[in-house]
């Protein structure tokens, strides 16, 4: 069978899960910086590498490739794992 699928065909960016994250967090988080717990680099959520053609969605650090966030939607619930994120940084309005 001829297949020519590269990593690039499978990899999107964090904007691919923007709608899902907005539903869960109640806000658009694509511009929110998140620090990778593995390498320490800070990137906007929308800039993370997203793998969504899988049993769940996996967001990876664009620098080191470590898993930062995993999202699984089952028939009853949505689980988000964020062990790979050291912190989010939210701007304070007027700050």
């Amino acid at each position: 069978m001829a297949t020519d699928v590269t990593t690039h065909d499978l990899m999107l960016d964090g904007n691919a899960v923007a709608g899902l994250l907005a539903d869960l967090f109640g806000a658009d988080v694509t511009v929110v910086p998140a620090k990778c717990a593995t390498c320490g680099e800070v990137n906007a959520m929308g800039a993370l590498h997203a793998y969504v053609r899988a049993p769940g969605s996996v967001l990876r650090c664009p620098i080191c490739g470590a898993v930062m966030m995993r999202i699984v939607q089952t028939d009853r619930a949505t689980r988000i794992e964020m062990r790979g994120i050291a912190y989010f940084r939210f701007e304070r309005s007027g700050g």
């Binding site: 069978m1 590269t6 990593t7 499978l10 899988a54 049993p55 769940g56 490739g65 898993v67 028939d75």
Partner: protein, 208 residues
């Protein structure tokens, strides 16, 4: 050694292969696909074959590791199996060539306490299976699909194949197995997917 081994019998429920039998080969909630969809939780690893090894470790008397060349020399056979992915596609009569887990384990002395197998892969993926679910011809490590080397996007150079479980249990890019006394949920099992994943019981998600 070439030995044709047709294993569709794992899932039972079929006989002569006529159209009327196809429906009986589709697990609940699944549909038939003719494609071979690619699913991946991360970038496709590209480990050079000269650096590739396959390791058996954990509750064994002496850990064992094969190079790619040594692995190719192990007794292999052909397998024709139906595969079901938890994302609901089922593909019938997939042709693989590979080495059974039984053959792999013949090389080690297994500790009596070993009850679970953790498959681990390049890229960090893991999946867990009870040992009785991968013995007696129920699982193999495949390195050919449809008569050609297994493509990287499908898990090549080698992937685990466990036809009687949803396909996430068939770890792509497998590099080794670890035998343990305790179970240890893998990449998807630890986040809501069913620990066993039997497609005939439609075990997609964990109980909650």
């Amino acid at each position: 050694m070439t030995e044709r081994f047709v294993t569709r019998g794992f899932v039972g429920r079929r006989s002569s292969g006529g159209p009327e039998d196809v429906a009986s080969r589709i697990p609940p909630g699944q549909y038939i696909t003719r494609d071979f969809p690619v699913l991946s939780a991360g970038p496709t690893p590209r480990t050079p074959l000269e650096q590739w090894t396959f390791t058996i470790q954990g509750l064994v008397k002496q850990p064992l590791s094969w190079s790619w060349q040594e692995f190719q020399a192990l007794p292999a056979r052909e397998w024709t199996v139906d595969i079901s992915c938890v994302t609901k596609w089922t593909k019938l009569d997939m042709h693989w060539r590979g080495v059974s887990v039984d053959t792999l384990l013949e090389g080690v002395e297994i500790d009596d306490r070993a009850a679970f197998m953790i498959a681990w892969s390049d890229g960090g993926y893991t999946t867990n299976l009870p040992l009785p679910d991968v013995l007696n011809g129920q699982a193999f490590v495949a390195y050919e699909y449809d008569g050609a080397p297994l493509a990287p996007e499908h898990g090549g150079p080698a992937r685990l194949v466990v036809p009687a479980r949803y396909f996430w249990k068939s770890a792509k890019w497998i590099r080794g197995i670890r035998l343990q006394a305790e179970d240890e949920p893998g990449f998807w099992e630890s986040l809501g997917y069913h620990n066993r994943g039997d497609q005939w019981r439609e075990e997609r998600y964990s109980g909650d």
